[in-house]
Amino acid sequence: MLRQLGEFDRTFSMLDELRRRMDRMWEDWDADEPGFSTQLSSAQAWPRVNVFDTGSNLVLKADVPGVNEKDLHISINQGALSISGERKHDAPQGYAVHRLERGAVNFSRAFSLPIPVDADKTTATIKDGVLTITLAKAPEAQPRKIGVQTR
């Protein structure tokens, strides 16, 4: 019995170690943001995105600080969502430069959508440098409630 408890304990230690490694991975990921590592280069994986399923919509969020809405192009074509655009260099005139970490970026990313969406009901907004694209699921992909009948 005691030996079994020991196994149990070890399993949890392993899970704990896994969690620590995952956390570390996140921290490394945050520290080493791809796309901005080199100045003035086109970025492959910028902006990074999060996608959520809210039931009737898919919501895509991406950090796009300093990108104007008119420099951003979003299209849906045959189940693929593409986002492209550029962030212009916004250095002020007549200033000496001490530090440059925020490069100008040309970006283009495409995502294949897991389910059909209604392109007409798709909306995109930028607020506080965060892009939110709300993709309405097509009627056939909407969650449906099945009523249970008693007999």
Binding site: A45, F52, Y95, V97, G129, V130
Partner: protein, 128 residues
């Protein structure tokens, strides 16, 4: 038998974490001209209310908190929203009362005007 004490101490070894917040240093550009220092920082997701800027003992601290914006089960997760914090040492002669901060589109612009003593001055040459 050996595992007995280990079992009891397990909780102490790994206390449960309720919520761990991550903080990153925002990326900044720093510019200077004759009149001011200009600091530009990328802080996506930061709002006017969430940003705090403090000047103390020759250091300016920029901080912003950011809410988790999960709205449902996650399908793709490439980043997690983080808080921002960064400290800069600033030279003497910054006029603290005239510091101005502006936030638009997730980009913070902090203007630190130089006091008059630091500004370049033209010295007239007199003939005698």
């Amino acid at each position: 038998m050996d595992n007995g004490p280990k079992m009891t101490k397990y909780d102490e070894r790994s206390p449960e974490r309720v919520k761990q917040r991550f903080t990153v240093a925002p990326r900044v550009d720093v510019y200077e001209n004759a009149n001011e220092l200009l600091l530009v920082a990328d802080m996506p997701g930061a709002t006017k209310e969430s940003v705090s800027i403090q000047l103390d003992k020759g250091q300016v601290t920029i901080e912003a908190s950011r809410a988790e914006d999960m709205t449902g089960p996650s399908l793709v997760s490439e980043y997690r929203p983080t808080d921002y914090a960064r400290v800069f040492s600033i030279p003497q002669g910054i006029d603290a009362s005239k510091i101005d901060a502006q936030l638009s589109g997730g980009v913070l612009r902090l203007r630190l005007p130089k006091s008059d003593a630091l500004k370049p001055r033209r010295i007239e040459v007199r003939s005698s």
